[in-house]
Symmetry: C2
Subunit: 284 residues, 2 copies
């Protein structure tokens, strides 16, 4: 059986994470949320850890401005740190894998984008790895990042309760076509606001149709979406808003009302009342 036959990325991850034990002395949450959550020396502070990568021809097109590629690579990881409740980013590692005939100026352009994100969001780039690829290998950038968050502000995917409102920040869809995926700002401010009352939160990277079921599964609940309420980006249609992916907005659940900047689109129910299909999947 090859990867395209396994039933998608989540099925693959379920299979790979079987038999992986984590050490409860160090780990609060392993695989299965936007970031891994670790204990620190201070019981009031959680450490966060996240990795993500972008591949040429998959996450960015060949002719994309290098600075925008660098920004996107960092901002994707920052979006995951934000989605834990507006964590503080601390340190990043950068791995760049490229063919030897790549222009130095292009790699430097990626670094301009990395640095711009580091300056804006006040974290340090503390190391990384540069490796050559065999001829014809697509360029790849992998970022790992650490962060910190107060224990009480840390919001997991798994806390949604039946009756909670489901809400999203911003507008969904058309991110790739419109170029928004190269310029977005991670939603730190909105996430910090949400952390005061949200029961569950995650970022929308693979499309609401893929990500909401993940949140529901993690929480052991269902959902009911009012499709008329889904905020559409520009002139895109509902299908695009649900399945395009690359929104990098927040998806959160709230017991009573959603704070400013969020649109309520449905509620948490016992079972799934409005099944969703589609969304981005690497292996289906």
């Amino acid at each position: 059986m090859n990867l395209s036959e396994i039933g998608g990325e989540d099925a693959l991850i379920d299979r790979l994470k079987a038999n992986l034990a984590t050490d409860p002395d160090h780990v609060i949450k392993g695989i299965g949320d936007d970031c891994a959550v670790l204990k620190t020396g201070d019981p009031e502070i959680y450490g966060l850890l996240k990795t993500d990568c972008v591949v040429e021809g998959v996450h960015f097109a060949e002719n994309t401005a290098p600075e925008a590629v660098g920004w996107k690579a960092m901002a994707r990881v920052l979006s995951d740190l934000a989605a834990m409740g507006g964590a503080k980013p601390v340190a990043a590692l950068v791995t760049v894998a490229v063919e030897k005939n790549r222009a130095v100026s292009e790699i430097e352009g990626w670094y301009t984008g990395f640095r711009k994100a580091a300056d804006r969001y006040e974290f340090s780039i503390v190391g990384g790895e540069t490796t050559s690829l065999p001829e014809g290998g697509p360029a790849m950038i992998s970022i790992s990042m650490t962060g910190e968050i107060n224990r009480e502000s840390c919001i997991f995917r798994s806390g949604a309760q039946i009756g909670d409102l489901i809400a999203v920040s911003g507008r969904l869809g058309d991110s790739f076509e419109s170029g928004r995926h190269l310029q977005f700002e991670p939603r730190f401010d909105l996430a910090r606001t949400a952390a005061g009352s949200a029961t569950a939160m995650m970022d929308l990277s693979d499309g609401l149709a893929k990500d909401l079921p993940r949140l529901a599964t993690a929480s052991g609940v269902g959902f009911s979406i009012d499709f008329d309420k889904v905020p559409l980006n520009g002139e895109c249609n509902l299908e695009a808003a649900l399945t395009d992916g690359e929104d990098y907005e927040l998806l959160a659940t709230f017991p009573d009302s959603a704070p400013a900047g969020f649109t309520v689109i449905g509620k948490i129910t016992e079972t799934i009342e409005t099944p969703l299909k589609g969304g981005w999947d690497h292996f289906s």
Copy 2:
């Protein structure tokens, strides 16, 4: 100018790290040692952070047993944690980039290797990323790891003093040909012993000819090697021992004598008295 014309990997890194500021409130050592070193909540404990990747066709051949590939990917990073003074590994993130037509059993074999390393060295695999590659893209595994070390046990590359002895653990050369690069054990025990008296330490991954000059540059010193003393692996010659790379042994400097398990091969001098050439370089 492309990457093959820049003068090697170190020249590339020098160029990329220019203009990267690190935050002294969080970072003790950024780019330039085996691991980045971060402050933790406890002033007596340093946090370590490292990333490394292996690429099919560069770091492992196409037909390599998957479990051995997984072991190597983890052990390379562990070797860097060991080289800081025998740190405790804590948490790892795994990124796997593969074509969709890859066999699931092969990815599972890599994970068997990852898990074997996690069990042996008692750390947790807490997350990661799986991404598809465009057709023809070489498989790539990137590992990021955190660790912890007592402040006083943390040994940097930069502490070598004129007059110190230069020593290496184990035997050098022929690692790739002999298959040792797929099975090696990171030198945690020897590193912990060395940490009591070493002034500088690093792991040997690109060959002594490449790595000793890095240690000397970081320390602002030179070196004199007694080439007859270099411990050769099996029947390999001196050239192979100096330049093959993939040894994953320790290179350390000591004021008086080297502990058991180390072979003294020279001493730290003011200038470089025995210039070295060669060693593994991705971009030259």
